[in-house]
Amino acid sequence: MSRSLTRRHVLRTGVAAGAAVAGSRYAFARAQEASPAPGAIMIPDNGVDLPTDDITFRWIDSGDLKALFYNEFHAAYQEAHPNITIQYDPLPWTEINQIVPIGVQSGDAHDIFAMPQDVPSAQAVAEGWVAPLDDIVPNFAEWKARFPVGAFMDGVHVFDGKTYTFPQTSSKRYWTMTFSNTQIMEQAGYDLSSQRLTWDEFREAARVVTEQGQGQYFGLILGGQSADRLATFVRNLGRTSGASAGGSAGFEDIDWRTGEFVYTSDEYIAAAELLLAINADGSIFPGSMSLSEPEARAQFPNGVAGMILEGPWNIPQWQRDAPDFQFGLSSQPIPNGDVNLPMTYEETGSNLLWVYANSDYKQVAGDMFAYIGSVDGQVGIMAATGGNLRAMLPEAVEIAQSSVELDPYASIALALYDEQMRLGPMVAVRNPESAAVATERQPLQPDLGSLMQGLMTGQVSDVRAAFEDLQSRANAELDRAIAAAQEKGANVSRDDFVFPEWDPTVEFTAENYG
C-alpha cells in the first residue's frame, strides 16, 4: 500500500485545461457559459449584489492542505472581482484560538473564520458570533440539497433550524498513518509497500533502523512536546486493538456502548506500553520530547528517522519543501493479535468555516460559499490538493477520481480511511443541548497526552495507576460538567453519552439515532 515518489506527480491537468479554455489561469464565467474543465476554478456569477467599492475581505483558518485550494480560489475570486482584496491569514490553531475570540469581542473579527478549537459551536451561535448561511448563500435550498443526506447535523451545522456552517471536506481521515523514509527502511530490510507492520514488528523495525543508523538516524521521530500527538498514538492504536471508543470536545475515549471511558482498558495500556518500550529501546529520535509536532514533521525529510506517524497534511508540505525526499505511506501499526477493529470518527466535515455575524460583507462570504459548496468547487478542492482533501459531494469525488489526476499518496490514504474508519455516534446530534456540557467542561490536568509525556520522561512510573486515575478524573469531570449544565437549565444527562446499539465495525448513520 505504500508508494514512493520523487516529487508530486499531480500537475492538476484539469486546472491547466480550464485555464487554457478561459484564456487565463482563472476566469469569471457567466452562468450560461459552458462548464469549466474539471478542477479548473471559474468563479460563476451567482447574481449576488456584491460591493462595488474597494474592500478588503478577511479570512482566517489553519491553512495546511486547504490553503492549496484557497490560494487558487482567492486569486480567481479577486480576478473576477478586482475591487475585492482577500486578506488570507492561514495560522496555527494556537493563534486562531486567541485571535478569533479577541476579534469578536472587539467587533473586528475576520469576515470568515475557523472556530477556535475549544469554543463549542452552539455557544458561539447562542452568543451571536456567527451569521446563518440561509440568508446569505444564493439559492440556499438548492445549494444545501446537493450535499448527501445527513451531511448537515443539528448541533453541529444547524442550530434552531438555521444553517451556520457546512461540511466542506470529509473528516474521515486519521493522524497516525506510517510515513517512512524509503531509503532508510529499505536499507534496514523493510518494504512497507508490501508489508503492514504489527505492533511488535513496528518496535523491532524502529530498533533495527536505530542500530543501523549508528546515531545518524533513528527508528521513529515524534513531536513529544505536542502532548495531543502522544494521546492520539495511544488512542488510535488502542482502539484498533479492541478498545473501541469515540467522542470529542474533551470527552474522548468513551465506549459508546456503555458510556464509560476506556483509559483503563488493556488495549490503551498496551498501546502506551508499546510507545514506552520503543522509547526504552532508544529507538526514538533524541530530543523528540522537546520537539513540537510541526517541528518533528519538518525534521523528518532531513533523514533523521525511518518512520513518523502522521496525517495527510504532510504530503504536499514535504513535496514542496523537500522535492527529492522519497517517502512511503502505509497503515498505522496493526495489532499483533486477530482483533483489528476500525477506528471511529465523527463526520462533522473538516475545515468548517463560519461567517462573522457583524461582517459588512456577508454577501461576499455567501457568494464564496456558494462556489465552494458547488460540484465545481468541490472538484476544485480535490484537484488543488491532489485528492488529499476529500470532497463532501459524492458527485464531485466521482468526477475528481475520473477526470483529475490525483496524488497517488492521496489515493493510498483514501483507501486506508475507507478500510480503517467507521462513522461513530455523536452526542450533539442526538441532543444538541449537550453543547452546554462541553462549555462547562474543564480540562483534565494531566490529560492523556500529558500523562504520556510524564511516562516517557520518567516522571510518572506506573501506566495502569496513572490511567486509572485519569479514568476516575474523567468520569468525575463529565459528571460535574453535566450537573453544571443541568443547573443552568440544559436538559442533559449521562444517558446522552450511551449508545447501546453502537457497532464499531459499521457506520452509525442518521437512521441509528432513531
Binding site: 486567541q98 475570540p101 477556535p116 452568543e127 530530543g287 522537546s290 474543564q442 490536568q445 509525556q453 520522561t457
Partner: protein
C-alpha cells in the same frame, strides 16, 4: 565625608519649587505634567487598565470568550490554592528566582568590577558583547537555543561528547531534571548584560576620594572593595536585586519557546501556568481563574518588593552614616 555632603545643593532651594498649595505646585511644574501626559495615557491604557481589569476578572467565573460573566466571589482563589499544579508552578518560579538571581547578580558584579577598571582597554568591547543578548528578542533566543541544546547534532552536545564528558547526548530540554535549569542558564546569559550595566552605573558613583584616602591609609584591593565599594553600593545592590528578581519572574518568552512548560510540566513556571489556563490550550479558557492565579502570585511579588524596599532603606541609611562618618 563632610566635603561630599557639602557639595549637595542647599535643601532650601529644592523646597522652594515645591512649596505652596497642591494646585500651585502642579501649576509650577505644569510643563513636566504636560510632557508626562502621553506616557500616562499609554500607561493607563496598556498597563493600569489591564491590571485593574484582571483584578476584577479574578472574581468572575468567565472564560473570556462569551458574555456570561458570573460573579464568583472568592471561588477562583479557592480553586487556585487547591490546585497542585499552581503550587508546583509557584515553587518552580521561586526556585528559578532563588537560584538564577544570585548567580546572575554575582557574576555581573564580578565582571562589572573588572570592566570598571579604567586601565582595562577592552572594556568597551566586552560591555557591548555582554549586552548584545539583552537587545535580542527572547523568543528568537529561545528558538535558537533549542537548536544549540538539541541532543541531535546540537553544538553543546557535540562539545560534551568530544570532550568525553558524556557518553550519550543529553536531552537538556526534554529531560525533566535539566529542562528548567537549562532555561535558567539561558536566562542568566541573556540578561547578564543589563545587570552588569546596572553594576557599572553603581560603581561610577563611589567617590574616588574615598579610595584615595583608603590607599593612603594602606588599604589593599580586597579592603577597598570590602570596606568602601560594597558598603557604598549596597543601596544600589538592593535595587539591582529587586529588578533582577522581578525579571526572573518574567521568563515567559524563553520558557514557552524552549520547553512550553514541559516535559510534563517540569518547567512550568507561573507565567506559563497562567497562560495555559487563560488561553485554554487544553480546554475552554478560564480567564477568571487565570486572573486569580496571577493576582495571587502578584501579591507574592509585591511582598518580595516590600521586603527589598525595607532593605533598601536600611542600606541607604547605613550608607549615609558611612558618608557622614
Amino acid at each position: 565625608m563632610a566635603i561630599a555632603t557639602s557639595q549637595l545643593p542647599p535643601a532650601t532651594s529644592q523646597r522652594t519649587a515645591g512649596s505652596g498649595s497642591l494646585g500651585r505646585r502642579i501649576w509650577t511644574a505644569r510643563w513636566c505634567y504636560l510632557f508626562m501626559v502621553p506616557n500616562l495615557i499609554l500607561a493607563a491604557m496598556f498597563t493600569f487598565y489591564p491590571a485593574v481589569m484582571s483584578w476584577y476578572f479574578a472574581f468572575l467565573d468567565w472564560s473570556g470568550f462569551f458574555g456570561d460573566r458570573e460573579w464568583a466571589g472568592l471561588d477562583n482563589f479557592r480553586l487556585v490554592v487547591n490546585d497542585p499544579f499552581f503550587w508546583n508552578a509557584y515553587k518552580r518560579s521561586i526556585l528559578f528566582m532563588v537560584v538564577a538571581v544570585p548567580i546572575q547578580v554575582a557574576l555581573a558584579f564580578i565582571v562589572a568590577l573588572v570592566l570598571n577598571d579604567s586601565s582595562y582597554r577592552l572594556g568597551t568591547f566586552f560591555r557591548t558583547v555582554f549586552f548584545l543578548p539583552v537587545v535580542t528578542s527572547a523568543a528568537i533566543i529561545g528558538i535558537v537555543m533549542t537548536f544549540i541544546f538539541s541532543p541531535f547534532n546540537g553544538p553543546i552536545n557535540k562539545a560534551l561528547l568530544q570532550a568525553g564528558m558524556v557518553d550519550r547526548p543529553v536531552d537538556f530540554l526534554g529531560d525533566p531534571d535539566t529542562a528548567l535549569w537549562t532555561v535558567a542558564a539561558v536566562w542568566i546569559w541573556k540578561w547578564f548584560g543589563i545587570t552588569m550595566i546596572y553594576w557599572l552605573a553603581a560603581l561610577q558613583v563611589v567617590p574616588q576620594d574615598l579610595y584615595e584616602a583608603a590607599r593612603i591609609d594602606g588599604a589593599n584591593r580586597w579592603h577597598l572593595h570590602k570596606d568602601i565599594t560594597l558598603p557604598m553600593i549596597a543601596p544600589f545592590a538592593m535595587v539591582i536585586v529587586l529588578i533582577t528578581v522581578v525579571g526572573s519572574l518574567n521568563v515567559f518568552g524563553l520558557v514557552q519557546t524552549m520547553t512550553g512548560g514541559g516535559p510534563f510540566f517540569a518547567s512550568e513556571v507561573m507565567e506559563v501556568y497562567i497562560y495555559r489556563n487563560a488561553f485554554g490550550n487544553t480546554g475552554i479558557p478560564r480567564l477568571g481563574f487565570a486572573s486569580a492565579a496571577a493576582l495571587f502570585f502578584g501579591i507574592t511579588v509585591i511582598g518580595i518588593s516590600l521586603i527589598q524596599g525595607w532593605g533598601l532603606r536600611k542600606a541607604a541609611a547605613a550608607r549615609n552614616q558611612m558618608r557622614q562618618a
